[in-house]
Amino acid sequence: MRLMTGLLAGILGALALTAPAVADPGPGPHVNADLVADHSGIAPGQTIHIALRQQIQPHWHTYWKNPGDSGEPPRLAWTLPAGFTTGDIVWPTPGKIPVGPLMNYGYEGQVLLPIPLTAPASAAPGAKAHLAAKVEILVCAEICVPETKEVALDLPVTAAPAPADPTWGPKIAQAIAAAPAAAPLTAAFQAKGATGVALAIAGAPLKGADAAGAYFYPASATAIDHAKPQAIERGPDGLTLTLAPGYDFQGGRAPATLAGVLAIGGKAYEVAAGPGPAPPGTSGLGPPAAKAANGGGADLGLLTAAVFAFVGGLILNLMPCVFPILAMKAASLAAHGGAEHRAEARAQGLAFGAGAVVTFVGLAGLLIALKAAGSAVGWGFQLQSPPVVAVLALLMLAVALDLSGVFEVGASLQGAGSGLASRGGLAGSFFTGLLAVVVAAPCTAPFMGSALGWALTQPAAAALVVFAALGLGFAAPFVAVAFVPGLLARLPRPGAWMDLFRKALAFPMYGAALWLVWVFAQQTGPEELAKLFAAGVIVALAAWLAGLAQKRMALGRRAVGLGAAAAIAAVVALAAVVWPKPAAAELTAEPYSPARLAELQAQGRPVFVNYTAAWCVSCQVNDRVAISTSTVRSAFARHKVAYLKADWTKHDAAIAAELASHGRAGVPLYLVYGKGGGDGVILPSILTPDIVVKAVEAADR
């Protein structure tokens, strides 16, 4: 424990040292500015866009219209020919630029600030319009330097609208297209005491949007505390961000509007919220799966991600979900204490490490493969599947029974052959490493979300490096104990106390098994729970039979019958929990085809289209918990909903194209078409009966 703390402190200290030293401003200018235009000329009465181009020195930044905690946006004072006018700057979505404990909003690198320019109807074709501006730009790294520029552009006045500028036309158009857009969003905010402001935003553009990394940039510098994290809660029609209140909320006051920009899933929208209750559909689905922040967030490099993964692996050792497994490992290490067993302890430590790393890499490989196959899985997915949880619960039970001395895993391996005698323990250590990882994996989700999310968006090789680093970090403390003679020597010598210790350690394992059963109960129903309990009893029986067989073999007798009975009992137990239950409330679905959809729409019927696949875990979960329920079945009957199923279990190019046209790379995808025709409404990927019922009710209106 002390070793762990020391290691962690060392690593964190090393990270802190990489903080930038005091900046020498160096020679200016730190930003170059000029004017560019999207057309090669301007016609009388025409409005085009010009743009202030800023080329900012690396590591320096300039500011958005709300600079955040410090700084100020660029200011332009125009000198224009008579009758020419400029409009407001079209501010591109900024990035977040943290400065110590403060937060700034701004730009780095090259940025275009588009500005509308209108020529008067009286402008004389053939003349040159001289557009000039004095620009004051505050440019900052750690310190700030105000820079003043004189910029100018001579634009020919043309009789007819001029062609687009080949260089700047597309770039300015792109900047305008990427800028926050007005959108059909409904938004409201509510102050919750002095600690939080809930900003709830709903609207069609937010349906099915990837809310991970969503961020609200307030237009006013006094609305919120910029540096505080913004907690995200998703809903079927939008999201709720919990913001830290700024000066506007001081002394029990609240602003009349909370306006700004919502950046979400690579897009940005203008938001203006008034005080009031949250629009419906803006909460209830929990926070988004963690992933690398987008929109100005620094990209994690592979090395950084690997280092963080290693640290994360170390921290995992402190997680309650792996503690019982480590308790087991501690017992095994204690068995190899003492100087005479040093070589064996090293081998054990390495086997445990290998087990942990191989399992992490294996799980990562499985995850990458599943993602490639189109399944919407996240890290920790293995515990989303009730059969896996059930199997793990039984496994924990078996381990606990082993610790209690009902049967002996090591002994049976030794009995299997003399050649395995020395390696039996190694296999056990490897297996312990494997088990620890499988149970610890869900604990990694909150801690390692950023690194793992990043890893899963990378090429497979990079992802595997990160996961291997996680495994190494996880295994490091035990491997270190096995290798550092001083530490090993401090471990108590083996003796009769070990048997007592081992039996005591069985109880955390019984606890772990019960915890998993509790998880299983949340995911399934009473019938399944009864089955799992029955399976548990059968496992205990199998363990007892195996123990009996082992005792006979130890006495030199044959125990084939008992062994076989134990094996059969184990298989029965597993089959009981993994066997799929008959789908009682199965809805009858027609196979999907675009022609059938059009036909049903022509009949004026609402249509529910389920894009699914047999191998898609979340599709199956949705099917059981939401679609194939009596509530949904009766809602479908009431609203005469036609149910179409697009089965993607086998590759189908037509369905893949349909998915792509809705911006999806895989299943599940649920679409509800209204009886009045039109485009389908996309439902969330995690369904509840309520969501489906509400959607079909809306479709029948």
Binding site: S70, E72, P101, I143, V145, P245, Y247
Partner: protein, 205 residues
């Protein structure tokens, strides 16, 4: 299960955000502090109980601080208010090695050169007072009334610009708040946008 994960995630998010700044609350007692001034003398907020106190965050290298000191408007306000019995504490929270870091001698030198006219110049290079007050800018201004409660927080005026030209016609929020307190009126504009450079806290802690 879900609740526990959410809690964990929230805890991690909070940790990841690093040392966040707390906000003092308007109308609530101002956070107490003890600091060392530019003569090595300890100064506590409580020793000024019963008097109106102004807190001004400064950074000698910040162009926004320069706007108010080079034009003399800051010193003029300091002279006027201290003559009226107001306590004016200028605080430097720049960390060692950062812009505007003050040792006692460099602080005294700067004060003499600028004809600084406040009551005391506090050295807070650890950023302790700055963090307690949520000071984010130089100059960031706070006014504490005679009852020891926070009466104003924000900018010195309504012109969040570095350009000295912007001083013309600015609404002097701090002077207005002090006038309201002297007249026994509630402060009409109790908060505004603090503006200027970021306070140069030690970013590593």
């Amino acid at each position: 299960m879900i609740a526990r994960r959410t809690l964990l995630a929230a805890a991690v998010a909070t940790l990841a955000a690093g040392p966040a700044l707390a906000l003092p609350q308007l109308g609530q007692p101002a956070p107490a502090f003890t600091a060392t001034d530019d003569h090595g003398k300890p100064v506590t907020l409580s020793q000024f109980a019963g008097r109106t106190v102004v807190l001004e965050w400064t950074n000698s290298g910040c162009p926004y601080v320069g706007k108010h000191y080079n034009s003399g408007t800051m010193q003029a306000l300091q002279r006027k208010e201290t003559a009226d019995g107001v306590v004016w504490l200028t605080v430097s929270s720049s960390a060692p090695g950062m812009q505007g870091y003050f040792t006692a001698p460099t602080a005294r030198k700067w004060a003499a050169k600028k004809h600084w006219a406040g009551t005391d110049l506090l050295l807070d290079s650890a950023g302790k007072i700055g963090r307690e007050y949520g000071a984010r800018n130089t100059p960031h201004m706070f006014v504490i009334d005679k009852a020891g409660k926070v009466a104003y927080m924000g900018g010195i005026d309504d012109r969040p610009y570095e350009d000295p030209e912007s001083l013309k016609g600015a609404k002097p929020y701090v002077a207005m708040a002090l006038a309201d307190l002297k007249a026994g009126r509630p402060v009409a504009v109790p908060t505004s946008q603090p503006y200027g450079c970021s306070v140069k806290y030690n970013s590593a802690d």
